[in-house]
Structures are given as C-alpha cells and as structure tokens.
C-alpha cells in the first residue's frame, strides 16, 4: 500500500493540496466565498515556486473559464474553482468547455444562488448546470474531496469531458477533518502526463477549434458529446478501481450505507449523508431497518444502478438540497423517480427539500424523516414534497 500522511485539513485546504500535487499547467480563477481559499492557498504555492503552474488572476469568473478553455485547448492540464454566482457567471462557458471536449477540472464549493444573496450551502449552483455536459461528482467530506480531485483529472482526460467536484460550502469547505494525504510522487504517477489529442500549441498539426456548425453538423457533434458523457461512466469506475487498488479507498457511482437489508431508505448527497449515517446507526440500535443511498456521481446519472439498489425498499425519501423550481419535486427526486419508473418499481417516494441557504439539517430531523417513512410504509398517505426545516 502506498505511503500516506495523516493531517488535519479543511475541505478547501484538502482540495488545494490535491491541486498542488497534481501540479496543473494553468489555474485561472476568481475569488468567491466560500471557494476563495482554494485558489488563495494555491496562489501561495505558486508564489513559493512549489508548483510549475501559471496562475492567472482573472477579473471575473466568466474570464476564468474562458482562460481555462484557452489553456486546455492549447494542450494544458487546467483547473479552477468557484461557487454560486461565479458558477452562474461562467455558465455560458461551461457549456462551451464541454462542447469543445476539454478536460478541465473545477472545484465547486456548493453555495446557494441569489436572490436573496446568501453565502451558505445548498446545491442550487451545481444543479443549475446539470445540463452543461460536465461530469458532476459530489463529495461527502474533505477526504472524498481530496480523493475526487485526483481521480477527476484522470476521468476528464480519458473521457474528454470536463469534471466538477463539489463540497458543501462552509460545512465541509471550512470544516477541519482528519484526512489521509497521499505521497506527492504517488499522485503524480496516478494522474500521469496529459497527452492532448488536438491542441493549439501543436504546430505540426494545425487545428481550428470552436468552428461554427450550421444545421448540417451541430446534431452530429452533440451526439458525440452525449455518447462521451455516457462513456465517462465506465471511465469513472475504472479510475476508482485503480485508485482503490493503489490507495485502499473505494469509490463508485454511489455509496450504500446499511442499505442492502434496509426497508426504509434516504437518498442524499454531500455532507448530509454523513449526518444520515449517524442517524442510521442510532435508529438501527432501536431496531429500525434503515439505510442510505448516497449518490456520488450526479452526472452522468447512474439510473439503472440506483434503481437496482433501491428496488427492495418499502419507502424512500429523496432529500434535495435545492429546488429546481419545477413547481413540485427537486432535481434529485426527479432523477430517482424516472429511474424507478423505468424499472417498474412503484414504491412510496417522498421528496424533502431541505437545507436551502445553509439552513442546518439536524440529526433529529433526519430521524423524523425515517419515522415518516415508517408511517408511509404502513400506508399513511404522505405529501409528495415536503419542506424540511422551514418556518411555516
């Protein structure tokens, strides 16, 4: 097993550390709370000559992603970080990066979207760009954030799809945790050398990137992109398998916690999954058969696999830390419903919108959700969508 160090780091510090070890060619970024620290710490590495990275302190997030696109298209390994309004401002460029098939890795610290302006955690920013064609990986804690950043580089460069790795704003980004850091050389070996296919700084093979497609070519290029996103799934799994073999920590498309023999399941992403695990342990001691399904990869959505994992449940609660403004369910719930429907699984499914704008989600609230599910399993009718933790 590879050499590791046990250190105390916050989510942001862990991501910055991963970036230091990855040593990308270019980082172009703009500060925004609560992601600022990632690039701040990284700028410190640059100032001390600890990395080879060219750091571009751009004047807006839109320019950050534009510069990342320039660098990646030119053939460089490129990374950045942002949150919320920053992600929203660069949204146009996110679609473009994916369409240009550039393997950019973005660390997003989940913060809610304005208005009202609020700097705290929810998933509305990452959910906003779920159509952009990026692989989206949610991290539960700082360890996962660190491990995901390292895997993301390989996933992006192999699949030629950009990857966003998220952590929950302030909860994880600023929460100190005990994590295992890998050896510099091991990380370097794991991510390997980036070998771009078509790139601007190759004067032996001139390319034009970003041409205009009329109605006769756009659909074909998009179809390729759709296929590439689908094909990123096996790449994610292969990368995780290699990571597990080398470093001992296993990742997949999602994590099951005491789910196999459970009757009542919660589906939740990010740090809430961690709280749910504690609730599960307590309720299991009381004899309730409860479990958790924690999606790790939200895009491409692992539809069949999740439906398979949930098919034996009596009642399921899907917890959404954002509202997609559909007028009914939240975004994760919509995906789960579609997944179950396609497999003919018609179980009681209740949606809980929670934690918006950093509203804390407590242990007793999660336990209450399981109690609702128990009632639901016994036939008590449930509201389709509940708003957990809001004052009425």
């Amino acid at each position: 097993m590879a050499k590791t160090n046990i250190v105390a780091k916050t989510g942001n510090e862990a991501m910055a550390e991963a970036m230091r070890q990855i040593n990308p060619d270019v980082v172009a970024a703009y500060p925004i709370t609560p992601a600022t620290e990632i690039v701040q710490i990284f700028a410190g590495y640059v100032a001390d000559g600890v990395v080879d990275t060219e750091f571009v302190p751009v004047e807006s997030e839109h320019s950050a992603m534009s510069a990342c696109i320039g660098s990646s298209a030119a053939g460089g390994r490129t990374m950045t970080g942002t949150s919320s309004q920053g992600l929203a401002l660069m949204a146009e460029m996110l679609f473009i990066a994916a369409g240009l098939r550039l393997p950019i890795v973005l660390a997003d610290v989940n913060r809610t979207l304005s208005s009202p302006i609020n700097i705290h955690c929810d998933h509305s920013d990452t959910m906003m760009i779920r159509d952009a064609g990026w692989v989206q990986i949610f991290s539960e804690n700082a360890q996962e954030a660190y491990d995901n950043m390292i895997q993301a580089v390989r996933i992006a460069e192999t699949a030629r799809v950009p990857v966003i790795v998220t952590t929950d704003g302030f909860i994880i980004s600023h929460g100190m945790e005990r994590i295992e850091i890998l050896d510099d050389q091991e990380v370097k070996k794991f991510v390997g050398e980036y070998k771009p296919k078509d790139y601007l700084l190759n004067f032996d093979k001139i390319v034009t990137l970003g041409a205009l497609d009329l109605t006769d070519y756009y659909f074909e290029h998009k179809r390729q992109q759709i296929e590439a996103l689908r094909n990123s799934k096996p790449v994610i799994l292969d990368t995780a398998k290699d990571f597990a073999e080398k470093f001992g920590r296993s990742y997949g498309l999602f994590e099951k916690y005491k789910l196999d023999d459970a009757e009542l399941a919660i589906v939740a992403m990010g740090s809430t999954a961690g709280t749910a695990k504690v609730a599960i342990d307590e309720l299991r001691d009381k004899g309730m058969k409860v479990g958790l399904l924690k999606p790790r990869v939200f895009r491409p959505f692992p539809k069949e696999e999740i439906a398979e994992a949930l098919k034996g449940m009596k009642a399921i609660a899907v917890m959404d830390r954002s509202d997609a403004m559909t007028g009914h369910e939240g975004p994760l719930c919509l995906e789960i419903k579609a997944a179950l429907y396609d497999k003919g699984i018609n179980k009681t499914l209740v949606n809980y919108i929670y934690g918006l704008g950093g509203r804390e989600i407590r242990l007793d609230e999660i336990e209450a959700v399981y109690k609702d599910l128990a009632d639901a399993a016994r036939g008590k009718p449930q509201e389709n969508v509940n708003y957990l933790g809001v004052r009425e």
């Binding site: 369409g99 390319v207 990137l209 074909e220």
Partner: protein, 110 residues
C-alpha cells in the same frame, strides 16, 4: 465541396468541434458570388503586388513574385484590385460576369 449524401455521421466524424488541418476553406468555392469579373492585362502589369495585398479573398495568383492571373473559384468580383492598381490605364479591368469572354466563362484557375 462536400455533398450532402457524403457528409459523415457522428460515429465517423472526428470528435469534438475540431477542424483538423489549416486552410480547408480553399475547398469551398465562392466564385459563383460574382456579378462582375476582373480581367488581368499582363502586358501592363508592373507586378507591384498591390492588388494581391488588398484582395480580401486571396484570389490573385502570384508565382515567383509575379502576378499570373486570377483564381476565379474564389474571386467575388469586389473590384478592389482594379481600383487599387497604380498603373496608368490599369492592368485590370472589371467586366460584367455575364458578358465575360468565352475563354473565361467556365471559371476555374486561369
């Protein structure tokens, strides 16, 4: 030009919004845009290359530093070359495309 029936499908098209190779636009003919056509008068030409440096469509053919004629596949008939020609009496005249001399009628490099 690439005909509709031979356009590649998504499986064979090179991946991504990439055009490999430079200057592939030369395969696209814009000569049929013309309503006026420049006629080169070689005996008057002083080979200053003024027409060449100002042609927006790179339609003036130059060999060994001397003008040899027009690429009628790409000339759009804008008339800049004739206007800029510094020679007294001009080494270029503009003629209506539909009245162009028979030997020029078929287009193609002269």
């Amino acid at each position: 030009m690439i005909e509709k029936k031979t356009k590649p499908g998504w499986k064979t098209l090179p991946e991504g919004d990439v055009i490999a190779g430079g200057g592939t636009a030369q395969e696209f003919k814009t000569g049929d845009w013309r309503s006026k056509r420049p006629i080169f008068i070689p005996e008057k030409c002083i080979h200053c290359l003024t027409c060449w440096v100002y042609c927006p469509d790179s339609a003036i053919m130059v060999k060994d530093g001397k003008v040899i004629g027009y690429d009628y596949d790409h000339c759009k008939g804008c008339g800049i070359c004739e206007h800029e020609c510094p020679v007294k009496g001009k080494a270029i005249t503009m003629s209506l495309e539909r009245e162009a001399k028979p030997e020029c009628k078929e287009g193609g490099k002269k």
